[in-house]
């Protein structure tokens, strides 16, 4: 039995797109997304919603090898996105934070002429609100926001600082946990916060 995607692709992907855009424009905001989906495990519902909405035949998708082949088949069948053979050739990437590290420098950072040709990483965590606290500031944030993602690599803040230093180049992150998502665009500065 193959898993299904959006029952009403037009309206459901527009809803998901709207939420992703809100999450990107106000970093740290946690929004519900993909509640109605039932992707094959261990793919999170919000990760499925984000990739089914954003990825298409023009955007190579890289899927971390820790995911079973069924995830790749599901996303390829429903989004039509080709598989990228290396992370730095991908427009979108799917990684599982529970399955090990995250190395932002492995992904496409864009070029000076086309900074938009970078990878948007969908990173699957187990929680967005109960991990070590990160303080966010930058465009879109009037005052500081917080995110508390777990699990997260121990050197994530340093990696993100390096990513931020390359602005306007750099990757954008969409964190997902089950049916919730939050975004970290490359313009946001992240510092470690006290609990």
């Amino acid at each position: 039995m193959s898993a299904l995607a959006f029952a009403d692709p037009t309206f459901e992907s527009q809803t998901a797109f709207r939420r992703i855009m809100r999450a990107m424009s106000a970093p740290g905001t946690i929004l519900a997304c993909g509640e109605a989906l039932a992707p094959p495990p261990p793919l999170a519902r919000a990760a499925a919603a984000a990739l089914l909405t954003l990825a298409d035949f023009e955007t190579p998708l890289w899927i971390a090898p820790s995911f079973p082949a069924a995830i790749g088949d599901y996303l390829a069948f429903h989004s039509g996105a080709p598989r990228a053979d290396a992370p730095d050739k991908a427009a979108f990437a799917l990684v599982d934070l529970s399955a090990g590290g995250l190395d932002l420098a492995r992904f496409a950072l864009g070029t000076a002429e086309y900074p938009d040709r970078s990878t948007t990483i969908v990173a699957q965590a187990s929680t967005l609100a109960a991990g070590p606290r990160l303080r966010l500031s930058g465009p879109g944030l009037k005052s500081e926001a917080t995110l508390a993602i777990s699990p997260l690599p121990t050197d994530f803040v340093a990696q993100w600082a390096a990513n931020r230093a390359g602005f306007p180049l750099g990757v954008d992150l969409i964190f997902v946990a089950d049916a919730r998502l939050a975004a970290l665009p490359r313009s946001t500065t992240v510092t470690e916060g006290a609990r």
């Binding site: 193959s2 299904l4 995607a5 959006f6 029952a7 009403d8 692709p9 429903h78």
Partner: protein, 161 residues
Amino acid sequence: MNAKGAATSPQTEPPEIAARRRAMTLLARARRNELAEPIAKRWPDHGARDLKPIESGLVMLRGRIGGDGAPFNLGEATVTRAVIELPTGERGFAHILGRDASAARLVAIADALWQRETGDVETVILAPIAERLAAEAAKARAETAATRVDFFTLVRGEDAA
């Protein structure tokens, strides 16, 4: 399609793909009752399930003048797509002209059944469709042939005067 299309042209593709292409081409040109009746009679409990919602959209038709000219966009055509899965795992695909969602679904079901029971589908569904299409083509040829005009030149003599 792009340059890659040449590698999978009807002339060079493997026979099993050519056979599927032939079946899907016939199915796409079937009338709705040519599918609905045999499927209801022979496979009433096919149990097909939609994998994607049936959608109508537009495809750009491309043409070439004389078969070897530069391709150009001729216009858009309405097509309806259906993708179904049988309980035994075969996936059926259909793209048909027009907006008839239930007909697209029947075509997809017939495509999936063809993968499972090729011989039966060939005799029950495809053979009558192929027969009708051949008869229609022959009739069109006969009608065209009846209107053939053989031209010959009359010398009117005006230029000589």
